[in-house]
């Protein structure tokens, strides 16, 4: 079975607010928010780490979920985000053009 690679689409605008990502699509300025699990996936989507590794190391380690179920959910989410051009997906590693990323969280105490 081929592995799935995921990368943040550099065309979007994004910021993390209190552990949840808000993302504006570069295509039509639609705004999305990601829940905490989806945010972890987004933040780990570096184009180089395959999705199964992200699920194993970042999601299963943090949430009490079956690895197979978690991978299936993550794949579904990745494909949905890709359909909105928020994520890029490929069966090959995806080179990142724009450096830096929205991994910082704003929302600490004032």
């Amino acid at each position: 079975m081929s592995r799935l690679y995921v990368a943040r689409n550099p065309r979007v605008a994004a910021r993390c607010l209190d552990g949840e990502m808000m993302i504006m699509s570069g295509r039509d300025s639609t705004l999305f928010t990601l829940n905490k699990t989806a945010t972890i996936l987004w933040q780990a989507a570096d184009g180089a780490t395959p999705l199964d590794e992200i699920v194993e190391h970042r999601i299963c380690s943090e949430f009490d979920v079956e690895p197979a179920d978690a991978l299936q959910d993550a794949e579904q989410l990745a494909r949905e985000l890709a359909s909105h051009e928020v994520l890029q997906i490929s069966d090959q590693p995806i080179p990142q053009r724009i450096p830096g990323g929205p991994t910082r969280d704003a929302g600490g105490s004032r």
Binding site: V12, L17, I98, R104, A106, G107
Partner: protein, 369 residues
């Protein structure tokens, strides 16, 4: 505002996050608009390195919407370097410009950098009016060419039309032109005092009659009766509301690094050259004073019929001398909308209390004469 953006703004407010910042990259400009509130001399703009550092700090503080404005942003030689850096930090970038320096090449580059929108000032569809306001012959043609280049790249372009006496008759044609070009159009009937408080430019603004005309144009306001209706009495929750976003979820940074609650609220709260952006945002006494004000704390406005519907700008009120006071320009707008004078207008009209007239008493000698 979309409901999700409203939700995010509420969340940012609760967390004390500055969701939206306008950063002016320069006050220098290649136009000399007659109503402009800026001093165009360069008094020591932030360097490329300083601005990049500020962008890092703002990303860390949670700023999502970054409006880059000026002066004319394209006069900065490092403009694209800064924009590229801002986009690498994944800001949602909006630009404000006169666009006279944007040709096909620049438009394509802006598309590649995925800016969210670009707002361009157009005062009239007629060169003799637009160019007489910018004081630059040929500027309308160049700006409109730029609109076409940007539009052909698929970018979201917004034409901003500031209304003054000089161009008042042209707003419908500017809107028609915007529709023909396939771009949005906003209309602003407010001329802002100069940053140093000089109010001489206000005389260029439209008068009551013109405001009344604008507020009764269904093409602009939709349902005129609803728009011009007399507001209901303010509820408790409306009195508890925030006056506006300035200092709450938004702020402004000048090209010299000074942080203000808003571009139209010239109350300096700190400078990013000597203090971290987030520290100014969270701990500046002045920022916290602005933040502490609720509608119910406004001195004259709480007595006013218009308080719930008024566009009152705390920044304009501050420039009149009291950030908790009324803003006369917004009083004029409320009056033009409804025909009811504001509490501020009424208090000014009230005759001064009778002074005890002191007259020299006839001298005793005179009295007996």
């Amino acid at each position: 505002m979309s409901s999700l953006l409203q939700e995010m703004t509420d969340k940012a407010l609760a967390l004390g996050v500055p969701l939206s910042v306008q950063l002016d990259l320069t006050y220098r400009c290649n136009e000399r608009c007659v109503h402009c509130y800026l001093d165009h001399e360069d008094h020591g703009e932030m360097t490329t390195v300083e601005i990049k550092h500020l962008l890092d700090e703002m990303a860390e503080a949670g700023v999502f919407i970054l409006t880059l404005s000026g002066g004319e942003i394209f006069l900065r030689k490092d403009f694209f370097e800064l924009l590229e850096y801002a986009r690498s930090l994944m800001f949602c970038v909006k630009l404000k410009t006169n666009a006279v320096m944007i040709r096909e090449k620049e438009a394509a580059r802006l598309r590649d950098l995925n800016i969210q929108s670009i707002q361009i000032s157009i005062y009239s569809h007629r060169p003799e009016i637009h160019d007489a306001i910018t004081l630059v012959p040929g500027s309308l043609k160049r700006s409109l060419d730029a609109v076409r280049f940007l539009k052909s790249q698929g970018l979201r372009v917004i034409i901003a039309n500031v209304l003054m006496t000089e161009n008042m008759q042209d707003y419908s044609s500017v809107r028609a032109l915007s529709a023909e070009l396939g771009v949005e159009c906003t209309l602003d009937p407010t001329v802002t005092p100069m940053m140093d408080g000089n109010r001489s430019v206000l005389k260029l603004g439209v008068d009551q009659n013109a405001l009344r005309q604008v507020f009764r144009d269904p093409a602009l306001v939709g349902d005129v009766d609803e728009f011009c209706a007399i507001p209901a009495k303010a509820s408790e929750s409306e009195l508890d509301a925030l006056p506006c976003s300035a200092g709450h979820s938004a702020c402004y940074v000048s090209p010299y690094g000074d942080v203000f609650p808003c571009v139209q609220f010239p109350l300096p709260t700190g400078n990013v050259r000597s203090r971290r952006f987030i520290d100014i945002w969270r701990h500046s006494e002045r920022m916290n004073e602005v933040r502490s004000i609720r509608v119910k704390d406004l001195t004259t406005c709480t007595q006013c019929t218009h308080v719930t519907q008024c566009t009152r700008c705390p920044g304009l009120a501050f420039m009149e001398g009291n950030m908790r006071g009324p803003s006369s320009q917004d009083c004029e707008k409320s009056f033009a909308r409804t025909g009811i004078p504001s509490a501020n207008m009424l208090s000014r009209r009230r005759p001064a209390p009778n002074l005890v007239q002191i007259r020299a008493l006839p001298t005793l000698a005179g009295a007996t004469a």
